[in-house]
Structures are given as structure tokens and as C-alpha cells.
């Protein structure tokens, strides 16, 4: 709440989480691993940011969660995209592309 950059980072983090989950269900740590992997290690999401974001997205209706057995037979909470979440991913991606394009153009000008 106190960092002014929060909103920008938050938006980015949300998009990354949605993207990470677009390939299928993952548990919390899985999401963080996946983001690290698809961004080539640029973004390392700390649990302090990850879990609040997951809960927020779930409350927004973009994610849903279920308890399932993990790969090594431990119970873990798995997140998947909802229909609304998929739609949101599409919209946010489009939005991001526009911003990125505009920013690139602006900075090259």
C-alpha cells in the first residue's frame, strides 16, 4: 500500500500469474516456478507477493482453487483459470501489447 509502484507491478504480476496458469493447473509454488521459467529468471516472485495476488485473483473470479494431491502425494491447493480468467488474460495481453508497443515507439523516437 505504501509503495507508489505497487499498481504497475501488481498489474504485471496479475498478467504473469494468469499466463502461467493458462497452460494448466498449478499450486502456489508451481505458479512462482513457472513465472521464473517463462520469464527466463527475470521475475522471481516472493511468497509475500504471490499468495496475496492469488487470493485477490480468486476473489475476482478469475481463478478457482481445489485441494488435490500433488505429484508426490501431498495435499496442495491447485489453481486453475476460470472462463472469466481466460477472457481477462486475453484482454490484459492485448492491453499490455499496446502499452509495450507505445512505450517502445516513444523511447525510440
Amino acid at each position: 500500500m505504501s509503495q507508489p509502484r505497487a499498481s504497475l507491478l501488481q498489474g504485471t504480476l496479475d498478467l504473469l500469474i494468469l499466463k502461467a496458469l493458462s497452460a494448466g493447473e498449478l499450486h502456489g509454488l508451481g505458479v512462482s516456478r513457472r513465472i521464473e521459467q517463462i520469464t527466463g529468471g527475470t521475475f522471481v516472485v516472493q511468497p509475500g507477493s504471490l499468495f496475496p495476488a492469488l487470493h485477490r485473483l480468486e476473489e475476482s473470479g478469475w481463478l478457482k482453487s481445489i485441494w488435490e494431491a500433488s505429484e508426490n502425494n501431498r495435499r496442495a491447493k491447485y489453481y486453475t483459470l476460470t472462463k472469466a480468467g481466460k477472457r481477462q488474460l486475453g484482454e490484459a495481453t492485448e492491453q499490455w501489447n499496446r502499452v509495450a508497443l507505445a512505450m517502445t515507439k516513444a523511447l525510440e523516437a
Partner: protein, 891 residues
């Protein structure tokens, strides 16, 4: 986010908090276990693996808190926590809480009661009436006076022929109805051994159509019901009357009932809510032309007999000004066509309202004054609560400093303090509403006792008054809490944390300002209360010239028993001779008017050789039996009393008062002289002169008055005045009446003291309210002065210690504290007196024999406040002066 999803989340988070928390806990621990397992798989030793995993995840508790903060309803959750905290804080200082709640309860409750009454009787549209804002009242206005009429006094009745012409000629109303309520429209609903008095109205046939009142059963009136030639004796009754008197039986339509002894057929029942469009309520309606038979019926057709009021519904698109212009034109035309009957007879139009037009300005002022009084006490209570909160903010400075230093957000602490004050205000509103409930119950019992009007009685608590109180309490709570909260959180942290600190001077200044305002407002209230009190005492000290105590009154209206003139006269005579035989009575009499009840029977008189308005003596009269003067103890100054020989057929006689005698025959003796009365110029001989008295109200100036013997002028309304030897003889008189005619209802039975109390009813209400409110205000102000003085003394403890150690005298220390408090009280009092000087002028009409700038009241207000302020500051000052310098410096 979709609102519904969000709402679901909020509800889930708040209601199933335990489950949500457990889920979060499980999730994080599962994540921790996963991490540990990964490390173990990499071959890390178990202890190491656990440590590494925990480092990686960070503090589980902190992650949890971060999740909690983003949850939906996090704000509400925090709010609940704050409320819980505030409640604990409030419970820890019960004295503060009780004072604050009580003072706010009085302020909020008072405003709510006045609001409820105003809402019920003034603001609300009459129930059962369609589109009430398009209704206007039409009445006669006196064109002899300068200026037009715009809703003030002098809105009067017109005659039936005039009404027919208005109805015929007007083009501005969708319909124009006429009605008559009041004295003669009280019906005796005779069902043999139990006759009841029912308020009703004579109405034109289009009455229900114009008002848009649905008829629930049967029919309304038809044009043919309103015919002078062959009046139909039909009646429409209210839903309530149907339920209470006829048990809601469906076959009530077509049934014959006896009204004032005459048979009427019930043709319809109105929709449930309807009871007339003003606060003067009716239960049954009868066509205008069914006005009592005989002579009276002939009078309905007279253009000079004015007894009807009009109510019209404006046509769509017509403004009230257009209606006013057209009705004024019609009035001028009718003046020209009937110059005799319509002299100075204009027609006025005013918006219809719950209060009759003639009373409207008085009622509005009265209600405004009540609002002002209760509003002032509310403001004082607010400042009081704010002042105490401010002081508590100071007391809590160390705690608040610690919280701020630990990183609590300032807005969060402010919110906490505002929540505290809102809780206090809410509790005040709740307590206030309980008081409102009680006050309304008491009022509900008092209102039916009001004379002249049959007011709708149902001032119970409803949702509007609850909403009003809650909204007002929220405003009060937030505004009371905000200033102290801002002041309390503006803390310079460093010195506060190290020492007890003395940086509270700014806050002392804010608080002093609060106290000054409180003092000023209570001085204003005190001055008003003293003005009203003195006015009431002056009024009470006036000698009405007769003995009010020890007289009882029983009211009858012979018309309610269906008596015609001849039988009525006979009955009255028989009744009086029966009453006179009662051994329990010292004296007894009939009178048309009971003195000091606000009623007046006008009577213009001329000297025999004089004519015209300019020469007329505008007098009032009463129609009495010979026992009247003895019953009231009014001394006869000259001439004789009425006797049995002053009966119908004998020469007409009258007794005049001193003022009339002086006015008509200055310097001469009045006995033996003649006067002519009324338009008929009936000559009467003066047989006696009686002492001047108060007739209509206690505050009136001496005015010309004459008495005529009841035997020579029959009246159907008669008040039996008795002076019993014992405490009461009403029971015996009632028994006689019941024995002589069981169908005749007693309109009213009360002591004269009770009946005359209504003469000063509004003044009494205001005086009592002002007294209560100003006492509370002054006590609260004294409390405020005490608080400031105590705080001031406390702040300067060390300084005082130093002074004393250096040899200052205790008296000097006492003076130090007293001087500060004295300054506040003086400034406040001066401001209060100045405000009073500006505002009391508005009270002028309600004061009797007291000038608005009455020096006694002003000085009294200042002295009361000054004395209390001195006492209030003496205690802390004395405590400061008795400080042991060693203790003070050791801190």
C-alpha cells in the same frame, strides 16, 4: 470485479472467517512442506532443509497478513476490529461515556420528537388524498385592509350562495368543494343509552371527487344529494368509524343512524386512511344542504351567512397565482353584484396544508422555536462531547504516541477516534429514541385534550424518525470526533515519548474555544428560558378578576341530542332547576362561552342614534344565566343582576362591563341606558355594570364586553359552570343529565383550571422546554469549564510547583487558574448575551409583559452562568493551589 462475486467474497470472508483462515494456514504450510521436500530431495539434511525452506517462504504470519489485507471486506474487517477496540475503550471510562451519551440523547431525542410531530402534522401529505400538493384552500379575505393576502391571518368563511357562484364562474379548478367543520358539525351519534360525539363535516357533493378520496364501500355523494329544496339526509362515514362503531359489517350501507336526533342513511364508507385533509379530522360527512332543519336550513340559502371554507384542485398547468388572480376577480364581481352581503368581501387562495390557514403562521413559528431550542441543546451537547474527547485525546497522548511511533497510520488512529464518537452518538440516538417513544406516548394522551380541534392521534415512532435520528447521529458523531481526532494525532513524537510533555497548548486553545461556544449558547438558552419563565409568571399573576379555582365545567350541545329551539329551551330550563337543587353546589350557571379558553362570541353594538361601521363598538359577549356572576365571583358594580323575570318576551336586557360603560357613556352612569345590537339593531336596556375581567386570553387588554340572559337568547351549546362546596360535583351533574336524556352526550367535563390552562398552552410548552433545555445546557457548560480548568491546572503542575517553591502564595496560584477560566466564561457570556440581544426579538409575540431585551433575564442569565463557572473552576484551582511543590517537581 463483478459486484455479486465481490459481495459473496465479503460475506464469506466475514462470516466464515475461521474456515478461510484455516484454508490459508493449510495452503502456506503445504507450500512450506513442498519446499522442505525439494530441499530434502536435493540431499540437504532435514534441519537445514527446514531452515532453508522457511527462509525462502519468509514469515508465514507476515504472508498471511498480506493476504488478509487484499481480501475483499478487509476494510470492514478492520472496521469491526476498530469498533471492538472503541467499545473496550469506552467501557473503561464509564463516566465519560455516560455523560456524553446522556447529553447527546437529550439533544438527539429532543430534535427527534419535534421532527416527528412536525413530520406527522405539518410535512406529510394527508393520507388517503390524491396529489395533495395540487389542492388549495379558498376563503374570504377582508379587502378593507391594505395589501393582499398571501397565507397569513384573516382567512375566513363564505356563504353557500357565494360558493355556488364561485363554483359556477371559476375556470382554474378541476373542482371546487366547500365544507364546514367546527362547532355545529360535531354530531351526536345516538344509539340510545350510549350517545357518542363524532367529529364530522358538512360538505358539498363534489367533496370526495375534488380530494380524490376513494370510496371503499357504497357510494360517495351525488349532485342530487346537495339540494336546498329537498335535502337528502344521507351520510358517508369514515373507515375508522365503520370499524369502531359498526364492527365493519358489510350491510352498514343503507342502514339508518341518528345524527343529532335526526335519521340519516349511510350511503358509503371512505377508503381506510382518509379522515379529512387537515389535522382537524372527521369521521363522517353530510351534505351541506342537510344542515340542521328549521330556521337553520333557511339560513343556508342566505348570502350574508358565512360558514363555509373552500378547497379546490388546480387544473393541470394552472398555477396558484393564476387561481388567486381569478378568484380575486370573481370576488370583486360578487362585491359589486351584492354590495350589502359582500361588503369588503374578497376571495383568497392559499396552498392547502395540514394546519388551517389562519393558524399556519403561529404554528410554524411555534414549531420553529421548538426546533431552535432542541437544536441548540444538541449543538451544546456536541461541543461537550467534542471537548471531552479532546481531553481524552490528551490523556491518551502517550498511548497514541507509541502507536504512531510503531508505525500506525495516522488516518487509522483518527478513524479509531471518530468511530468512538460515532458509537457514542449512536448510543445517544438509541437512548434518545427510547425517550422519543416515551414522550410520544405522553403526547398521544395529551393531544386529544386540545380544544377545538379533533387532531389525528398517532404520533408513534416510525421509520422516518428513526432514519432522521440515525442520520443526525452519524453527522454528530463524525463532526464531534473529527476535530479532537485531528488535534490528538498531531503529536510531536520525540518529546512525547521521552517525557509527559507539555506541548498541549494548541489543544488547550481548541478546547477553550469549545467551552466559549458552549457558554455562549447556554447563556442564550438561559436568557430565553428566563424570558419565558418571567412571561409565564406575569401571565399567571394577572388577576382575571374572577376565581378560576374551585369551578368545574360540564359541556353540552343540545343539537347533539336532536333538540329544536322550543324543546331545547325547555330542557335547558328544566336542567338548570334540577342542578340548582343539588346540595353539593354553592352556585351554578349556564354560559355560552367559558372564559379564558380562547373562544369568543363577537357582538357589535351601537348607541341607539348611531349607525355604520365607524361608530360600532366592537364588543364581545357571553350568554349566561343569573348564577354566572356568583359562580365566578365577578362583582356587580352598579345596577342589578339578571333575574327570573328577564325571560323570553320580557324587555331585552344586558349587563355591560366597565370598559363598555366608559366607552359608550363616558362620565355617566350606564344603568338605564340603551344599546342596539347587531345588524338587526335589536335594542337592549342596560340593567347592570360588572367589573372588567379577562375573557378570551389572560394576556388581553381590557375590552368592551356585555352579557345577555340565556332566557332571552337560546343557544344550543351550553357550558354548565358549577362551584361545588366539596372537591367535585361533576358526577352528580352528569347523573342528572343522564337521567333527563340518556341520548345526550356530555361534550366535555373538566375543572376550569384545566380548561383555561390551554389558554397558555404553547407558552407553557415553550417555557418548560426552555427551562429544561437551558438547565441542561448550563450544566454541560459548567462541566466544560471544569474540564478546561482541570486540564489547565494539570498542564501547569510543574510550573506551579516551581512558583510555590520560589515562594508564590497559594492565593496567587488560585487566581492563576481562576483567571483563565473566568476569561473563558466572560467571553462566552458576552457572546451569548450579544446573540440573545439579536435573537430574542423573534420571540416578541410569545412574551407577555416582558420586553425581549428584558434586563432581568439578561442579567440573570449572565449571573447564573458566571456563578456556575466560578464553582466549576474553583475545585481544580483549589487542587492546583494545594500542590505539594516537592511532589510536583519530583515527577
Amino acid at each position: 470485479m463483478r459486484p455479486l462475486t465481490r459481495l459473496c467474497s465479503i460475506v464469506r470472508n466475514l462470516l466464515a472467517r475461521d474456515r478461510v483462515e484455516r484454508d490459508l494456514d493449510d495452503e502456506l504450510h503445504a507450500a512450506l512442506d513442498l519446499l522442505i521436500e525439494e530441499h530434502l530431495r536435493k540431499g540437504t539434511p532435514p534441519d537445514e532443509a527446514r531452515r532453508a525452506a522457511m527462509l525462502q517462504l519468509g514469515s508465514v504470519e507476515s504472508v498471511k497478513q498480506q493476504v488478509r489485507d487484499v481480501r475483499s471486506g478487509a476494510v470492514i474487517d478492520a472496521l469491526i476490529q476498530d469498533v471492538g477496540y472503541a467499545l473496550r475503550v469506552l467501557r473503561r471510562s464509564p463516566l465519560f461515556t455516560a455523560t456524553a451519551v446522556l447529553s447527546l440523547a437529550i439533544g438527539l431525542g429532543g430534535t427527534a420528537v419535534v421532527f416527528r410531530l412536525a413530520d406527522e402534522y405539518l410535512f406529510r401529505d394527508p393520507p388517503g388524498v390524491e396529489n395533495a400538493h395540487r389542492l388549495v384552500e379558498v376563503g374570504r379575505i377582508d379587502t378593507g385592509e391594505a395589501g393582499g393576502f398571501y397565507g397569513g391571518d384573516g382567512f375566513d368563511t363564505f356563504s353557500y350562495p357565494n360558493y355556488l357562484d364561485y363554483r359556477e364562474r371559476q375556470t382554474v379548478f378541476a373542482g371546487l368543494a366547500a365544507y364546514h367543520v367546527g362547532g355545529i358539525a360535531k354530531f351526536g351519534l345516538g344509539t340510545f343509552d350510549n350517545a357518542v360525539r363524532v367529529p364530522g363535516a358538512f360538505v358539498s357533493a363534489n367533496y370526495f371527487t375534488v380530494l380524490g378520496v376513494p370510496i371503499a364501500l357504497g357510494r360517495g355523494f351525488l349532485p342530487e344529494d346537495e339540494q336546498l329544496a329537498s335535502p337528502s339526509t344521507v351520510t358517508v362515514i369514515s373507515h375508522r368509524l365503520w370499524q369502531t362503531q359498526f364492527a365493519g359489517e358489510r350491510d352498514v350501507v343503507g342502514r339508518t343512524i341518528h345524527l343529532n336526533g335526526r335519521p340519516f342513511t349511510i350511503v358509503g364508507v371512505t377508503a381506510p386512511e382518509f379522515g379529512g385533509y387537515s389535522i382537524d379530522q372527521q369521521s363522517l360527512w353530510v351534505p351541506i344542504t342537510a344542515y340542521p332543519d328549521g330556521d337553520d336550513l333557511r339560513r343556508v340559502g342566505l348570502r350574508g351567512r358565512q360558514w363555509l371554507m373552500g378547497i379546490g384542485r388546480l387544473k393541470d398547468g394552472v398555477t396558484i397565482d393564476q387561481a388567486r388572480a381569478e378568484m380575486a376577480r370573481i370576488g370583486r364581481d360578487l362585491q359589486a353584484e351584492y354590495p350589502d352581503a359582500n361588503r369588503r368581501h374578497g376571495v383568497g387562495v392559499a396552498a392547502a396544508g395540514a394546519v388551517p390557514v389562519v393558524l399556519r403562521s403561529i404554528v410554524n413559528r411555534f414549531v420553529g422555536l421548538l426546533f431552535a431550542l432542541v437544536g441548540l441543546i444538541l449543538v451544546i451537547a456536541c461541543f461537550n462531547v467534542a471537548g471531552i474527547l479532546l481531553a481524552r485525546g490528551v490523556a491518551r497522548t502517550p498511548e497514541l504516541s507509541l502507536r504512531l511511533a510503531l508505525g500506525a497510520a495516522r488516518h487509522r488512529i483518527m478513524r479509531l477516534m471518530v468511530i468512538e464518537s460515532v458509537i457514542v452518538a449512536a448510543a445517544g440516538a438509541a437512548a434518545g429514541l427510547v425517550g422519543v417513544w416515551g414522550a410520544l406516548r405522553v403526547l398521544g394522551q395529551l393531544i386529544p385534550l386540545l380544544p377545538l380541534l379533533d387532531v389525528r392521534v398517532d404520533p408513534s415512532i416510525d421509520w422516518r424518525v428513526v432514519v432522521f435520528s440515525v442520520v443526525l447521529a452519524m453527522i454528530v458523531g463524525v463532526s464531534c470526533g473529527l476535530v479532537p481526532a485531528r488535534a490528538a494525532t498531531r503529536i510531536d513524537l520525540a518529546p512525547m515519548l521521552t517525557r509527559d510533555g507539555s506541548g498541549g497548548l494548541a489543544r488547550l486553545r481548541v478546547r477553550s474555544a469549545f467551552v466559549v461556544v458552549q457558554v455562549a449558547l447556554s447563556v442564550l438558552l438561559m436568557v430565553c428560558a428566563l424570558l419565558f419563565g418571567r412571561s409565564l409568571r406575569n401571565a399567571g399573576e394577572i388577576d382575571p378578576a374572577f376565581a378560576v379555582g374551585g369551578v368545574e365545567v360540564v359541556g353540552l350541545d343540545l343539537r347533539l341530542g336532536g333538540y329544536d329551539d322550543a324543546r331545547g329551551r325547555e330542557f335547558a330550563q328544566a336542567l338548570m332547576s334540577q342542578i340548582e337543587t343539588l346540595p353539593e353546589l354553592e352556585a351554578a350557571a349556564f354560559a355560552r362561552v367559558v372564559p379564558l379558553t380562547g373562544e369568543r362570541e363577537g357582538g357589535r353594538a351601537w348607541l341607539p342614534d348611531e349607525y355604520g361601521d365607524e361608530r360600532a363598538i366592537d364588543a364581545s359577549q357571553n350568554i349566561v344565566t343569573p348564577g354566572y356572576f356568583r359562580t365566578l365571583g365577578l362583582p356587580l358594580i352598579a345596577g342589578r343582576n339578571f333575574t327570573g323575570s328577564d325571560r323570553a318576551g320580557a324587555p331585552a336586557v344586558a349587563i355591560v362591563n366597565e370598559t363598555l360603560a366608559r366607552r359608550a357613556w363616558p362620565g355617566e352612569t350606564a344603568v338605564g341606558k340603551r344599546l342596539v345590537l347587531g345588524v338587526s339593531r335589536r335594542a337592549i336596556e342596560i340593567v347592570g355594570v360588572v367589573r372588567d375581567a379577562k375573557y378570551r386570553t389572560i394576556g388581553e387588554q381590557p375590552s368592551p364586553f356585555f352579557y345577555v340572559p340565556a332566557a332571552q337568547r337560546y343557544e344550543t351549546v351550553m357550558w354548565i359552570l358549577i362551584r361545588p362546596t366539596g372537591p367535585s360535583a361533576v358526577r352528580q351533574v352528569r347523573a342528572i343529565i343522564r337521567e333527563m336524556d340518556p341520548n345526550l352526550p356530555v361534550v366535555r367535563a373538566a375543572s376550569l383550571v384545566e380548561m383555561t390552562a390551554f389558554a397558555l398552552f404553547p407558552q407553557r410548552v415553550v417555557a418548560w422546554l426552555a427551562a429544561i433545555v437551558s438547565t441542561i445546557g448550563v450544566l454541560l457548560a459548567a462541566l466544560g469549564v471544569y474540564g478546561v480548568a482541570a486540564y489547565h491546572a494539570n498542564q501547569r503542575t510543574r510550573e506551579i510547583g516551581v512558583r510555590l517553591a520560589l515562594g508564590a502564595l497559594r492565593g496567587q496560584v488560585l487566581g492563576l487558574i481562576l483567571r483563565h477560566a473566568g476569561q473563558l466564561a466572560a467571553v462566552g457570556t458576552a457572546l451569548g448575551l450579544a446573540a440573545a440581544a439579536l435573537l430574542t426579538r423573534l420571540l416578541e409575540g410569545m412574551l407577555y409583559d416582558v420586553r425581549p431585551l428584558d434586563p432581568v433575564s439578561f442579567a440573570g442569565g449572565a449571573i447564573v452562568l458566571g456563578t456556575l463557572a466560578l464553582i466549576a473552576s474553583l475545585v481544580p484551582a483549589a487542587r492546583a493551589a494545594s500542590i505539594n511543590p516537592v511532589d510536583a517537581l519530583r515527577v
